[in-house]
Symmetry: C2
Subunit: 342 residues, 2 copies
DNA sequence: TTCCAACCTGTAAGCGCTTACAGGATACGG
DNA sequence: CCGTATCCTGTAAGCGCTTACAGGTTGGAA
């Protein structure tokens, strides 16, 4: 394989000069720069990242540990992050955890072994070992998709609790009092836990002590939203609204309720959280909370690169997660009479 | 930072032994293995991947170059690939091209610099430079999401042309003759081009020479499917079916036609291609072609790892992409009278 | 007992690059 | 014309690991 010294020989300069035109072109005279560039092209030189990383103690890559990219909102964020990194000559390594804490630990370890210069984590509750490792090695990291002013770690995200509260308040302001909640598992998922808590706290502030039976926990998919909604309605036919802690679940609920012969929003309201693209197209369009995924991806890149280059960066950045009012929510029927079917 | 020699010192053995327990534990006596393992834990040793890669000429990572993971089918495939790699101690580096050929070249170069041991590409038409680079360096690679027996490069995928043909045949067999096609750009996208061609060839085999005006090319999103369908219907109110080269477009068409007051499938049939999760939940559920994304992801991992380890692997593996008949397609109305609205 | 094979372990030579440092030109002011 | 500051370039010492090779033990066959 052609290597740096071959280029140097061909260009009639030292390896140091070749390395310089690659890494600090401004520190080299135009004449040498040209010769070297030419030689590299003629030989089809591709630099060896392992050697570069070993010598420079920088891998020019960053790692991202997310629960999943197959479903939900993370894919777009990861993509935006990757694009941004590419602009700066960095590579993205990705690992998924499937919401499994031990896999998260393994993923971080694996990324550290690969020498990533920075790491994105999702959420803020992680194995203390993870923080310890990261800190010990001095690797910049950032928690994402959750903003928490009191947490001691850097983060880029939004306030899940507050925006979920706002979503629930919207339903309560419309007049709903019997609200079912479909949620994905809250264990090991602080974002969803915060959303759920936000909803419950909001209910409480309206004097409603939500019984556990009106909360159902299911997996992440649309089909789970369906079965969740069905179970909820069977146990609580009095419900006038169903709120999901994620769009996939709300969308499932929408379909299932529709199949049960209920009209949305006239018979029952439905609201979600995430603002998936499909939500604005459904009939009815889905009321939800917009999550600024692309923004997060980009900010993560900027934050991490800044830290890597030694710039001082704000520890925390809070982004907006705004309510998006659409057609799936409306006032409950004035009478409690309902045309149930299905 | 604690390094191999520290572990060796602590365990009272040579660095070679430490390296061996890490890479070839069976070539080391149990006694030393234990001592070393203990020492590593006590010191919190994390191995340096750059040094390892440089010395062993292997990075234990593979690269994936996909058009996008934010929309469409690739995210799940990438996720499955990543999971599989993780099982074998490999890391996944990902790059997206946004369907831009020059970005693909850059991505491959960047991955090669990082020393990936193998590369997944999507489609089979790539800059010859890419194949040249890959071959020159002897890096295993595989084209995906397209199976083509005649192509000279290894691939793991399905026959886009044939399954698109089958999809169109389904419509024709139902009795449709006036079919509109909504497609995403075919330039630089051989999979979509093959699907479109499959549809056109099928039409031709039924004696139909599809006029260009009944084919509309739009971007990849649901909203584009909507506008595509609307434009098609405006120009060709006689259409009895709309076929999309991707589910996102078909789903957009479904929504738009519905908004136009048309009943699906009684007024007009709609079919897509990809089998996105949402398709089976819509009302009507969407007729489509199932794409075995997870299978592809897994096979890519197995193929690449096999090649890396020097095993001989089948050059080409063809997977099934089967028709999934659902509710959105039916016989056209017997009379040509139509209740148009909207 | 002797010899050889089998099995472990240690020694040390790189892997291909970056970069501190030294040294040679060059330019400019005095 | 000399001294000094400035700017480039080259020399060479690693970066932390893997692995070929050599050398030492052990056990069994002769």
């Amino acid at each position: 394989m052609v290597q740096l010294s071959d280029v140097a020989k061909r260009a009639g300069v030292s390896t140091a000069s070749v390395s310089r035109v690659l890494n600090h072109p401004d520190k080299v005279s135009p004449r040498i720069r040209e010769q070297v560039t030419l030689a590299m092209e003629e030989l089809g030189y591709v630099r060896d990242g392992a050697a570069r990383a070993l010598a420079s103690r920088r891998s020019y890559s960053i790692g991202s540990v997310v629960p999943t990219i197959g479903i939900g909102i993370f894919a777009s964020g990861v993509e935006r992050l990757q694009q941004r990194l590419q602009e700066y000559g960095y590579q993205l390594l990705i690992s998924t955890t499937q919401y499994d804490a031990s896999k998260e630990m393994d993923a971080v370890r694996s990324l550290m072994e690969r020498g990533v210069d920075g790491i994105q984590l999702v959420g803020q509750e992680h194995d203390p070992q993870i923080y310890k490792l990261l800190t010990a090695r001095g690797i910049p990291y950032v928690n994402t998709y959750q903003y928490d002013a009191d947490n001691e770690h850097p983060c880029i995200g939004f306030n899940n609790h507050r925006s979920a509260w706002a979503l629930m308040r919207h339903l309560l302001e419309l007049g709903h009092r019997e609200v079912g909640i479909v949620t994905s598992p809250t264990r090991l998922n602080d974002r969803i836990a915060a959303r759920l808590q936000g909803m419950l706290d909001c209910l409480k502030s309206y004097g409603i002590d939500q019984p556990a039976s009106r909360i159902i926990e299911v997996p992440h998919r649309i089909a789970d939203g369906r079965s969740g909604a069905r179970a909820l309605m069977r146990a609580h036919p009095e419900l006038t609204a169903i709120c999901g802690t994620a769009d996939a679940l709300a969308i499932g609920a929408l379909f299932e309720l529709h199949d049960m012969g209920l009209k949305i929003p006239s018979d029952i309201s439905v609201a979600g959280y995430d603002d998936l693209e499909i939500g604005r197209h459904l009939d009815p369009t889905l009321t939800t909370v917009h999550v600024p995924v692309e923004q997060i991806g980009q900010r993560v890149a900027d934050y991490l690169l800044g830290r890597i280059e030694g710039r001082s960066m704000p520890m925390k950045t809070e982004l907006e997660a705004n309510l998006v009012l659409r057609e799936s929510t409306a006032r409950p029927r004035p009478a409690s009479v309902k045309t149930a079917a299905g």
